[in-house]
């Protein structure tokens, strides 16, 4: 059964909600941090009191979800969220308070808001949605598992539409720690963002984009990964030559990463598009890639800032990303008409 992207929304460092078209040209940010452009929340979270009580990442999460639902217009049958590091600001705030106040008289709000399911629970409360609700927190597999769960829900007929949302916030602390751990070497850039999607069994008026399949591979050398990728393509009845665009998670155009090189070799006839220099990197960044893929397929245009050699037609895209060489994921995205 096919699963369609009925609606999507993104709060990222480049475009501003509710923008849905990709700009023809953009300037790449400077330095190695990219901060999300926050929208005017008043348009999405009407109650000023609720707005004031929410943390930054909660506001981003709810705003993106509301924007998505305004496109689909119905209650989702499930709400599934994904994050690598969760609500970092509140986590740090509570840790700091424990130390500074010597464990005395602590405000519980940062603790309760630090929980990984906060965004999913908030979305449920705002929407009064009592359906299936869960959260995946596994580095470069978080968003992929949310997608797979949603696809299973739809295929089992347990939900007609599923809201899938990823969220990641960057803080000074997380940037610094990851810098010390070596994440921002070789031109890699720290990012953040919230992406929300409505996955549906039926294509909508705007839902011409199909999420065909998702593959997660834990560990392994480039050669083993290549074999698993071949099996995945075969399972989906595809030859690598039928893929028009490889949306690669490599950090810069000069990346020497053997995994991304392997992917470029497999899809050597495809245009390679690179997005992380503009949007930055984070554990759930493949959600941003999926949002981009939906835009590119809908607009039938791969902007020049994403790729040097845009294809004539964009029927099929593969999103490949890995986190630290351990969590490899492939997302197969198609234009609806491909199989007639």
């Amino acid at each position: 059964m096919n699963v369609y992207l009925l609606a999507s929304a993104s709060i990222n460092p480049v475009t501003e909600l509710p923008d849905t078209t990709l700009p023809a040209a953009i300037a790449c940010g400077e330095g190695n941090r990219r901060i999300a452009r926050e929208p005017d929340y008043k348009k999405y979270i009407l109650d000023a009191n609720i707005r004031r009580r929410m943390s930054r990442v909660m506001k981003m999460g709810v705003a993106a979800a509301m924007q998505c639902l305004s496109q689909s217009g119905r209650q989702p049958g499930a709400i599934i969220t994904a994050t690598g590091l969760g609500c970092l600001n509140d986590t740090e705030k509570f840790l700091k308070n424990i130390i500074e106040n010597g464990e005395h008289l602590l405000n519980p709000t940062p603790f309760t808001q630090s929980t990984f399911n906060t965004i999913g629970a908030q979305a449920a409360i705002v929407l009064k949605n009592t359906n299936y609700n869960t959260t995946y927190v596994h580095r470069g597999f978080s968003f992929e598992n949310a997608l797979l769960d949603a696809m299973m829900k739809i295929r089992d007929g347990e939900a007609a539409q599923v809201l899938v949302e990823s969220y990641e916030e960057q803080t000074d602390t997380s940037f610094k720690i990851m810098e010390r751990l070596g994440f921002w070497r070789h031109g890699a850039v720290c990012g953040e963002g919230v992406q929300c999607f409505i996955l549906s069994a039926q294509p909508g008026a705007a839902g011409k984009v199909r999420l065909k399949d998702v593959l997660c591979v834990f560990g392994g050398e480039p050669q083993t990964l290549k074999e698993k990728l071949s099996l995945f393509l075969r399972k989906n009845g595809l030859h690598p030559g039928e893929v028009d665009v490889l949306l690669s998670g490599k950090s810069g155009r000069d990346s020497r990463c053997p995994y991304y090189q392997m992917a470029e070799e497999v899809f050597h006839t495809a245009s390679v598009a690179v997005y992380k220099p503009f949007f930055g990197d984070y554990p759930t960044v493949s959600s941003l890639a999926l949002w981009l893929a939906a835009r590119v397929i809908t607009q039938q245009q791969l902007p020049g800032w994403l790729s040097d050699a845009p294809p004539q037609q964009i029927n099929r895209m593969v999103i490949y990303n890995h986190f630290n060489g351990k969590n490899h994921s492939f997302l197969l995205v198609e234009k609806e008409e491909v199989e007639g």
């Binding site: 999913g120 299936y132 927190v137 580095r139």
Partner: protein
């Protein structure tokens, strides 16, 4: 497709492995005691249920090389997952695609706390080895690698229902052909972050917790891990403990940290789990309550049970007075206890009970029993954010 439990493993404040746990439960010996794992202003004030071993003792039990940094969460998880895998004879069965799905609320926070203390004084300070194990996925990946279950690896975090939701996801992965066998459950280590978090919410009892009792005044925290091995029924597997007959996950969408007093979320989770299995409420023999001992949870959960099981109230009890509330591990540990209850006809006593809760008047089991006629067991796990889940286990 019938999904069965072919192996179980747990570690908690009442011992290493299921045998020690059952022995403690039969002897009504609680795991609760004073906090020894880290310094805290709550040290002699709040009782906790610790796994009685230091990190280096845990590492030695696991045969891990000295000098490598593991979070306590990873160490506890390795012990329980290894027991579960061995119990299902997985190391001897070749050609299976084995996945590992773990629920946790805190991951390696016990190590991050150390890091953050130094880092707070200067951003160049703090041992990177301590922070590298911070995220939830680190513990999952360490455990998966240790037991060799890497064909599908992921982590679920829905507060105190994490373990139950991990089990549910594991079963669905098998049904969808994404793995042949999944080791699923949850793990959490005690740490300063959660202790202070629950203390700031004023829901920790300075006395031992009294689930389902009129005088209950809060929960006690615990730590541990519990995993079940899920697979399709087949001749290749050892005789199963039970079937995972049904499950449901709902969101109450009521409040970030509280249940509605009527227990709408718990009611729906239980009702939908029964529906999914095609089992009538009258057929349930025992309910392992979420039963944390907070005024709010035990009122809401009890009200929901009374309403759903109006015709016949099953045997019921909370095992949290033995293990403490182990947060992300609770759904896993209690799934293990539920599987054992079905297999051996066990009923677990609810410690520290004397008077029923006025609003619903439910009476829990207070004596350990074995050889009872237990065909169907419901296990509840409810979390912050209204993430309510129920698992239904039944005889094969």
């Amino acid at each position: 497709m019938e999904i069965v439990v072919s192996g179980v493993g747990m570690v908690s404040g009442i011992g290493f492995g299921t045998a020690e746990a059952l022995q403690a439960i039969a002897g009504k010996k609680s795991g609760m005691g004073a906090l020894t794992l880290f310094d805290s202003v709550y040290k002699d004030i709040l009782p906790v249920s610790e796994v009685k071993a230091s990190n280096s003792e845990l590492a030695a039990r696991l045969g891990l090389p000295a000098g490598k940094t593991f979070s306590r969460t990873a160490l506890l998880g390795m012990l329980a997952a290894q027991q579960a895998a061995t119990d299902a004879r997985l190391p001897l069965r070749k050609g299976l695609r084995v996945g590992f799905v773990s629920g946790t609320t805190i991951g390696g926070m016990d190590r991050s706390e150390n890091f953050y203390r130094s880092f707070g004084t200067h951003p160049h300070r703090g041992r990177l080895r301590d922070i590298a194990v911070h995220d939830c996925a680190d513990s999952t990946e360490q455990i998966a690698a240790y037991i060799g279950a890497t064909d599908y690896v992921t982590t679920v975090s829905t507060a105190c229902s994490s373990g139950a939701n991990a089990i549910m996801f594991g079963a669905r992965l098998i049904k969808h052909g994404m793995a042949d066998c999944v080791i699923a459950g949850g793990v959490d280590a005690l740490c300063k972050f959660t202790l202070n978090g629950f203390a700031s919410l004023k829901i920790l009892d300075e006395a031992v917790c009294r689930p389902l009792d009129e005088s209950r005044a809060g929960l006690n925290l615990g730590e541990g891990a519990g995993y079940v091995v899920l697979e399709r029924k087949s001749g290749d597997a050892p005789p199963p403990y039970c079937r995972l007959a049904g499950y449901a996950n709902v969101c109450e969408a009521f409040h970030q940290t509280a249940s509605s007093p009527e227990g709408h979320g718990p009611f729906e989770a239980m009702r939908q789990a029964l529906d999914a299995a095609g089992v009538a409420p009258e057929a349930v023999d025992y309910i392992n309550f979420h039963g944390t001992g907070t005024p709010n949870n035990d009122l809401a959960e009890g009200n929901a049970v009374k309403r759903l099981f109006a015709k016949k109230i099953p045997f019921l009890s909370s095992t949290k007075a033995f293990t403490g509330h182990t947060l992300g591990a609770a759904g896993g540990i209690e799934a293990v206890l539920s599987a054992l209850a079905v297999k051996h006809g066990l009923l677990y006593p609810n410690l520290n009970y004397s008077r029923p809760i006025a609003e619903h008047g439910l009476t829990p089991v207070t004596a350990f029993r074995q050889g009872a006629e237990i065909n169907t067991v419901l296990s509840n796990s409810f979390g912050f954010g209204g993430n309510d889940s129920s698992l239904l286990f039944s005889k094969t």
